[in-house]
């Protein structure tokens, strides 16, 4: 009999909700409090909770470290790429106004793209830090709990 049955059942319910809430915070970011950084941390919290309850090996199967590594770079590239795109459209670096015909729409798209980049990077870095610490040999075995 697994000793953590309640934790397992509850977290199975919670993890999708946490991830969903992360995206709510993400896309709410340009109207109110929220944005890529907070959303990234919440999304990473979903993965970390999964790793805490089901073990780090299961989490590494679900979110492989190689994907985490690429995610870290991808986020920065999305952010910087938005700036490069505005350069190619003939404006200053990260001048979102040129991304659409209407400058205020352009600002909107720009912020969304940049925040997406932040989401990727922050979530990946959080998970990477957790993996780095979590992958060390445990001092406490499961039986000692």
């Amino acid at each position: 009999m697994n000793p953590h049955v309640i934790l397992r059942v509850v977290s199975k319910f919670l993890i999708p909700l946490i991830a969903l809430f992360a995206f709510y915070v993400q896309f709410h970011g340009d109207f109110g409090p929220g944005g890529g950084f907070q959303a990234g941390v919440i999304l990473a919290a979903a993965v970390i909770l999964y790793a805490l309850i089901f073990g780090i090996d299961a989490a590494k199967k679900a979110v492989p470290p190689s994907a985490v590594r690429i995610g870290m770079s991808l986020g920065v590239l999305i952010y910087g790429g938005t700036g490069v795109a505005t350069w190619l459209l003939g404006a200053n670096f990260l001048e979102y106004g040129v991304l659409a015909h209407d400058p205020s729409h352009g600002q909107h798209y720009g912020i969304l793209a940049v925040e997406l980049g932040v989401l990727f990077s922050v979530a990946s870095v959080m998970v990477a830090i957790f993996y780095a610490f979590g992958s060390r040999q445990p001092d406490l075995t499961d039986e000692d709990w």
Binding site: R69, S73, L77, G80, G83, V84, N92, L94, G97
Partner: protein
């Protein structure tokens, strides 16, 4: 300026941002590259492009223009602006050129010192560090300075820690640096917070204007100034705050040491100039007194004590690291004089010392590469076993001491003249005494190399084993640059005068090129 016509117009208008964005984004790309060779080639190309860009910016500045770039099209003081002027442009060029030379040297040295798996991320961290340093110098927004300060510092901790595959002590050195560097950055950002509270803006030019209107501001501005000086003092290794520097320089990969010694503390010194002279004003009572007492006091103490410590080191890299702390003292003395000539001399020494120390550390790295030696007593007979390396080392060492016809002489003479003009004859005395101390600690190394026979290993005298060409090129480029500056220093003096003109609205702080 005919050279300027080679640069497309777009590159020149967006150059300030491109200089930071290019290494930053390429660093990120490098982090996921599998191949070490590709990573090195890309890093080298990026550094080369940055140097060309920085050269274009310098030409533009000395054509009489200054450049303000609005990030995201938001004009200052509301948006973040990048400012290239006579003070920042030469430092930008210095950082990019040192990156190119160090990367040439990196090709053989990183292969010897860093684990294969970590080499591509190593170059990635290097490019991010470079982007951070360039960003610190180019930005005109005070909070942006903090962001880039952290970008460069955090990647530096990684770079120092990478030395662990050669020397496990790199890990503790890196950790010490991390703790002290974070404390420094915290002090700096607390100071910025107070400054923001006082002025309500983060744009440097706007801050300067408001502080001038407020006549120095209230006690909040004084506290801000104190915090910022301490924070930057930690970053630039001002004498009592330098304890992280010797072990970080001694245990990190030699490529990192060469790059850091010639750029990282220099970028922090640039910020000190920026904050004490343009944002705060020396005419403000507390700023003037702080410069006089703190910067000169700690600068002179550093010159004497760090030089003495350098004499008693047994590890050559530690000797040079303590000598770096002493040289920072010279620059602080120049800045603390709070005259145009003093600031110009400090700035000149900043540029010259980067050339000298970069060359010296590359030579030491080459000696480790061939014979695995860093202890001074192991340098026996290096003039016979590595004549070319030792030649470059000797030239740079003479330049560090301040022998005529070298870069070190030019900046020391200018510094002594600036001090004498103020009637600070004791400072001239200190400069002479510390130069004598420099003769002793560099002489210790040269004496071993020239006057002792190569050691005998397994019954045979150690054979001649010269450093590879990729190492000889950067070390000789720097050694020859040092001589070229010593013979004709007009270009450097012009750059320093330009910078001083910006800080003090007078012309020609240094009287032409001082040629022996």
């Amino acid at each position: 300026m005919d050279l300027l016509s080679f640069f497309p117009e777009w590159v020149m208008t967006h150059g300030a941002a491109l200089l930071v964005v290019l290494p930053l984004l390429m660093g990120v790309v490098l982090a996921i590259l599998p191949s070490e060779k590709l990573a090195w080639a890309l890093a080298f190309i990026v550094a080369l492009i940055c140097s060309v860009l920085a050269l274009g910016l310098v030409l533009q500045i000395f054509g009489g223009e200054s450049l303000v770039y609005s990030m995201g099209g938001w004009d200052p003081p509301h948006g973040i602006s990048y400012v290239v002027d006579a003070l920042s442009a030469p430092v930008l060029l210095l950082i990019s050129l040192m990156a190119v030379l160090c990367l040439l040297y990196a090709w053989p040295s990183v292969r010897a010192e860093v684990e294969p798996k970590k080499r591509a991320p190593f170059y990635a961290a290097f490019l991010v560090c470079m982007a951070g340093l360039l960003g610190m110098v180019v930005t005109g927004d005070a909070f942006n300075v903090f962001v880039f300060l952290e970008v460069s510092s955090i990647s530096t901790y990684v770079l120092v820690g990478m030395g662990a595959s050669r020397d496990r002590r790199a890990l503790t050195a890196s950790f010490n640096y991390l703790i002290l560097g974070s404390i420094g950055a915290t002090f700096f950002v607390v100071g910025l917070g107070f400054l923001f509270m006082e002025t309500g803006t983060l744009n440097m030019a706007d801050m300067a204007r408001i502080l001038r209107d407020l006549d120095g501001g209230s006690r909040v501005a004084q506290v801000a100034f104190a915090f910022i000086i301490i924070g930057l003092g930690l970053k630039l290794a001002m004498f009592p705050l330098h304890v992280w520097l010797p072990s970080a320089y001694a245990h990190s990969p030699s490529f990192v040491t060469a790059f850091l010694a010639s750029t990282a503390t220099k970028a922090a010194l640039y910020l000190l100039l920026r904050f004490t002279f343009t944002i705060f004003d020396v005419n403000i009572n507390y700023v003037g007194r702080a410069e006089m007492i703190l910067l000169v006091g700690f600068g002179v103490a550093g010159m004497i004590f760090a030089s003495l410590q350098a004499i008693f080191q047994t590890d050559a890299r530690r000797t040079l690291a303590y000598s770096s702390v002493a040289q920072v003292g010279y620059m602080l003395l120049g800045i603390g004089l709070a005259t145009a000539a003093g600031a110009a001399a400090g700035y000149l020494h900043l540029l010259n010392h980067a050339v000298i120390k970069g060359g010296l550390f590359i030579c030491l790295g080459a000696m480790w590469y061939r014979f695995g030696i860093t202890r001074i007593s192991d340098f026996r007979g290096l003039s016979k076993t590595m004549p070319w390396t030792m030649g470059a080392f000797t030239i740079s060492a003479l330049s560090l001491i301040g022998v005529p016809f070298t870069a070190g002489f030019v900046s020391k003479v200018n510094l002594a003249t600036a001090a004498a003009n103020e009637g600070w004859w004791w400072a001239v005395g200190v400069i002479v005494i510390t130069s004598i101390l420099a003769i002793i600690y560099m002489g210790n190394i040269l004496k071993e190399a020239y006057f002792k026979e190569p050691p005998v290993v397994n019954g045979a005298i150690v054979a001649r084993n010269e450093a590879p060409l990729m190492m000889l090129i950067p070390m000789w480029a720097l050694a020859l640059a040092s001589i070229a500056i010593g013979i004709n220093s007009d270009l450097m003096v012009q750059a320093a005068n330009g910078a001083a003109e910006l800080l003090f609205p007078v012309t020609n702080a240094l009287p032409g090129g001082v040629t022996p």
